[in-house]
Every structure is written in C-alpha cells, then in structure tokens.
Symmetry: C2
C-alpha cells in the first residue's frame, strides 16, 4: 500500500527547520574506515564506562524502585545541588538548586527557551557563524535571525551595540567558550563589554557552555552570567564531560524563567530520564569529576596540538584557522578559489569527512569555511588524513 500524506497539513513552522547536514553526514559515515572530522563526538575511549557501570549496579541494588519511577519535572534534587555547588566552587557563583532545571542535553534547554520566549517575527541574535543545532531549534519558532560577527576573541561588540541600538532583540544566543563551530573563546574584556551592552538593552542572553570545562590552559573565564545574572540563561551539559548517552544537561536562570521552563518541560516530555540521573549522581558522588575532566583535557589537548601542528605544517599559509584553547573544534577559512563543499567531495574519495561551514550561518554563508573536530580521531590517523586533506586544497 502506498501511503500518502497531504503535505499542506504540516504546520507553517515545519517549513523553516533545516535538516542537520551534519547528522546526514554522520549517517553516511557508517563505513568504519572513514576518518571523521565531522560531528562533535567525544572520544568513547574516554567515557568512564566502568565507573558508570559500578554506579548503575549500586543504583539498581539500592534504589531501583525510585530510579525507575516517575519523579519531578525539575530533575533529581541532589543532582541539581551538585551542579549548583560546582558553580560555587568554579566561579564563586551563588546559584541555588531551584534555579536549575535538568534537561535532555543542552539542546532541549534551547528548545524550552524558544518555547518560552520566541513569538513569530521576534528578533533572535546569533553569533556569526553559530551552532547549527540552535539555528535549527530556533527556526521552529519562526524568528528573524540577526547575526553579529565573531572575531578571534569573541563577538564584535561594536556591531553588537549598533544592532541593539537599531532594533529590538528578544534574545541573544552565544557560546563564549570554544564555540561550536569556530572554537573561539571570548576574552575577559569582550565578556564584560558584551554583558554591559546586553544589560543596557535588557536583552535575554542564552549562554551555552558545553565545552567550558575542557580548557587546555587552566585559564577558566568567568561566564557572562556572572556579569549579568538577571537575564542570562546559562546552559550546561554532561555530554562532553561524562557521556552523551546519559542525555543529561541543565539550564540555570532566575526562578521566574525556571518556573516557566519547568511547565514547558512538563508539557514537552514530563521529565528527563530518572534512571540516568540516578546513575550520574552516584557516579559524581563516588568519583572525582575534576580528575576525570583532567584526563579529558590531557587527551583532547594532545589531539588539538596534533591538529594544530598539521594545519601549521601541511596546509598552505593562506588557510586561516582558529588556534583552539579548549573544546573540540577548529575552524578553517580556505583561500579564494576553494569551497568547502567541493573540498568535501574530494575528501570523501579519500574517506575523510568534515562539516562545510555554510550550514552554520543564518544567512549569506561563507562557503570557504569548514569545521574540523579533533576529539574523536587517533593521532597517527589524524596526521595521515590531515596531510591528505591539505593536498586537496587548490
């Protein structure tokens, strides 16, 4: 039987949501011989699988009934307290558990914020380029995107100011630490300046921070939140520092926003997985997250250094790239005459993949850009693949 649906019955918002080119690439990339600089996958070799397994065992033996039952939409209270305490310790931030909502990774937090704040036609401001998942998610709420250029040390604050003077912006989404896709980290000055400007315009800020813990030089920058707590919503995730398969992240905001977000979360999926939350919390109680993160940093830093070495040594000088000081990505701008999509076609023949940069722009994409992920490729393989890739540049 051929099943046909009348496409017109889909809602208007559906027309606006682009499928993720990255996810499409990842689907193609099931060939185990492919070297993938695409995706943002953490290295599975670094997952604390054994310790999480021990935690699962304890949870099932001690509190299986509770962990398997429904619970509150807000999330497991001890886990929220742990997160609050970590902010206190890392940045002397005074955040209470009531200001934290557990979400399915930080992606869901973006969705909930969209639901709470964005009316069709609202201006939503993004870094240029920005995280594709956020672009995709916001698109569902039919906003008008405004972009502010990202420089090597954060957004162009003059442009930010001009834009905010010129038009009313509902919210600004940013990733100040090791941005996806560019790897850029905001300097302290840019953080202060941006917060000042945004505060003056009373703009809601979404500070997405999945990579901040993975800082290679031990120089942890205070979040934008610390300069503008009234209207900054800070997102965090355990996907990059523990494991994505737990599907757990969180949102920090003032109580009024958290209350609204909780109602939205309840309507969206009742709550995040209770079992995952219990396993994660047990892990955090019985293991040092600091030590685990140290191991991640050591491993990713080495991979970063290898990739930077390859870019320096193999690639023509005309290729510009981010000297990433944390996170999982670097960002290339190819010389005139190249496009990243053409490079990808050629690279695919060599069984190498990456993500062309154009999908990360809300408008007027730069087709010469591309994103390279270094967290999930072993070093000899990386060297060989990077060499091959460099030869494909015109």
């Amino acid at each position: 039987m051929i099943i046909q649906t009348n496409s017109q019955q889909f809602a208007a918002r559906v027309q606006n949501v682009p499928a993720s080119f990255i996810r499409e690439i990842l689907k193609v990339a099931t060939d185990p011989n492919i070297v993938s600089f695409a995706g943002g996958l953490p290295s599975p070799a670094l997952f604390p699988a054994e310790a999480l397994g021990e935690s699962a065992k304890r949870v099932f033996s001690k509190m299986g009934g509770q962990a398997l039952q429904y619970s509150s939409t807000e999330g497991y209270l001890p886990l929220r307290e742990y997160i609050a305490e970590r902010y206190r310790r890392r940045f002397k931030l005074n955040i209470s558990a009531e200001q934290i909502l557990i979400t399915n990774g930080s992606q869901q937090a973006v969705d909930l914020i969209g639901k709470i704040f964005i009316d069709p036609g609202d201006n939503v401001m993004l870094e240029r380029p920005s995280y594709l998942g956020a672009l995709q998610c916001f698109s569902m709420f039919q906003p008008v995107f405004k972009e502010v250029n990202l420089e090597h040390d954060g957004i162009d604050t003059a442009e930010l100011e001009d834009l905010l003077n010129e038009t009313s912006v509902k919210l600004f989404y940013c990733i100040p630490n090791f941005q996806n896709p560019t790897g850029v980290q905001y300097s302290l000055e840019k953080r202060k300046m941006a917060a000042l400007i945004l505060r003056r315009h009373r703009t809601i800020v979404i500070e997405d921070d999945p990579y901040g813990e993975i800082t290679f030089d031990k120089h942890h920058m205070p979040p934008l939140y610390s300069f503008y707590p009234e209207k900054t919503i800070m997102l965090g995730s355990f996907s990059k520092i523990i494991a994505p398969g737990l599907r757990l992240g969180w949102m920090v905001a003032n109580r009024e926003i958290i209350k609204k977000a909780t109602v939205m979360k309840q309507a969206s999926d009742l709550q995040s997985g209770n079992l995952s939350q219990y396993i994660l919390y047990d892990f955090l109680q019985n293991n040092s997250l600091d030590r685990h993160v140290e191991n991640l940093i050591t491993a990713y830093k080495e991979k970063r250094t290898t990739m930077m070495g390859c870019l320096q040594n193999y690639f023509p000088e005309s290729v510009k790239f981010t000297r990433s000081r944390g996170g999982m990505f670097t960002w290339l701008t190819l010389p005139e005459g190249n496009t990243a999509r053409e490079l990808l076609q050629a690279a695919l023949k060599e069984k190498i993949i990456f993500v062309p940069g154009d999908s990360f722009y809300a408008s007027d994409p730069d087709y010469r850009t591309l994103r390279l992920n270094y967290s999930n490729v072993d070093e000899p393989v990386m060297r060989a693949a990077m060499y091959k890739l460099s030869r494909l540049i015109i």
Copy 2:
C-alpha cells in the same frame, strides 16, 4: 539580590499552558502516610528492577562505549525492530522500523506532533474529558479545542460526524484503551465507525495507547490504526509496562510524518537517551515481556477488582463510575450537591488524595467528576481509604 524578569518578554504561547494540577498535588503528597489515588504511577513493586539491573551490567560490560555515545535521532534500530515485530505479533500489523521514532515517553511524541501539525488557530479535537498532559502540550501551539463526548464504549460517533461536517479539524487526539482519565475502552464497533468517519474527513488521528497491553480480560482490541493507517499516528510507551524511569516511548506513523518528526526531534533534543535504549533492548532480549505483562495484569486486575468492590459496596448508588477493564483508572461522577474539589479538601484531612476531574476538560468542566488511580495502592490500605472517602460524599 532580587531578580526580576519583565513578564511581557515571554512568548504569547506561554500564557496558554496550564500547570498540571496533578503534578502540583503530587508535590504536596510527599507525606508517606498519604494514600494517593492521584497520579498515574505504576507500582514500583512491579518494576523488573533486578532484570533491568542485569541488563545494565551486560550493556556496560559489552558495549559501554556505544551505549554512552551519541547515536541516531530515530532511536536504536534493534529496539525499533522489536516494537515493529510486537505489533506484527499482537495485531498482524505490517509496520517497519522506519515507521517508528523513539521518544521520551509518549508525552514527547504528542509535543512533536503538535510542532509538526498545529498552526495557531487550528482546530484540535479531543475526547471530552481528555488527558491533561495532551491538553497542556497542545496548548503551547495555540489551537482551538473541539470536544467530543466520551460514552461508556468510546466517543459519541454521531457527535464526531456532526463536528467534522461542521468545521475543519486538523487532528483528533484519543486514547481508545482505558482512557486517562475515564478508564473507558472503545468497543470494536466504535473503533470501526470512528475510523470510517475520520478517514472520510482525512483527519489526522493521534491514537495514544500507553495502557492497551494492560487488558484484564485478554480481549485485545485492534487499534484504530489498523482501520486507518494512512493518517493515524500511534503512540506507545514503556512507562506503564516496564518502567517510567527509562523515559522511553515511541511513535508509529507513515514515513513522511516520521521523517518530519525526526527533524523536529533532532531540533528538540537530538535523540532519546542511548543508554536507556540499550538497557531496555537487552532486557527485552533476555526476558519475556509477555510474561512480565501477565504479572502486571494479575496485580492490577486485583487492585481494580478491589476498587470496584469498594465503589459498589461503600459508595452511594448515586455515584457513577467506570467499570474499568484495563489500565489504571476509574472515573467517578458525584451526585448533585458535591464537587470534586470540595471532596478533595475533605479527603486531604483524611490524608487521601485524588485528581478532581475539572482539569481534564478543555472547556466547561464537569466539577462533579474525579479520577481515581488504583495501580499504586495496596489493597488493605485501598479498602480503608475508599471507605473513608465514601463517607465524605454528601
């Protein structure tokens, strides 16, 4: 510091979403001495905690890396194949894994469907009364609700036909098996008739079926889907038959709808928890779900019978109730002069809670109705509490 947010900055859709009165009650009900007929909690004593614990152990030792990593938005393929196979076996339905999307319980499926289909102002048709979680979820998309009365054997099909002739309806949400809140099951005739009418009007149907497996009389009715597969979206959940803490459900639909829903799911939270999916699939491979469901049926049937006995023996004849043949709920209509909210006030003093029925109506609520859940109360306790409750009726 006092943190204040300008409420006007919230989106228009936020104004429409009612907080769940049930969840609010559940929050109050932390006193362990409270007897709760509120909520829809499965009995934790019936969770297969030990077997799931064994599954977790196997998953961590054999495939921890995979289970902890990101994976496809569609969900774990073997799990989707298992679900498809179960439909084949139970109802001879020919459903492929490509027609199945794994979601965070069926609640998220309702959200994704809202996102895909509902434009502000669209007519969304509900049973009267209907599941509060669906009401809440749809509200976010600013539809106009239309209600069709529920009778003892399913919706009033004459009313359904009149309504569809009168106005254009985007979608119809229903729970044909042991509905939440009423416990009503559609008869075979009503299923066929409803499908015929809905098909004639090309109305999209959401057939939510979290309770269908828990049929006390072994008489499993074919789903509406089997009479109208083109535009019926069937939702299922592991929350009631295995455990809510896994937070896993699914959506069955034609490929075009699943494709759109997958893009929406990706934008909403990338994917459901991979670890949960692996643990669940291992459980399903190593245990008989049929046998487990048999145990649930035996236990819940006994509880149902006890509750029906109490209603029959303790309550005045003027109290009407559903003789539930499956699921977890019965639905009472109190005699004139009572309201369920007043009854709840009195019951709270006796440390008994339930959900007044008014929250389950999209409009013009019947204040004499209430929902009783029998799945999570032990029998001697149930008897005592039901007796007390009966004495409170005027």
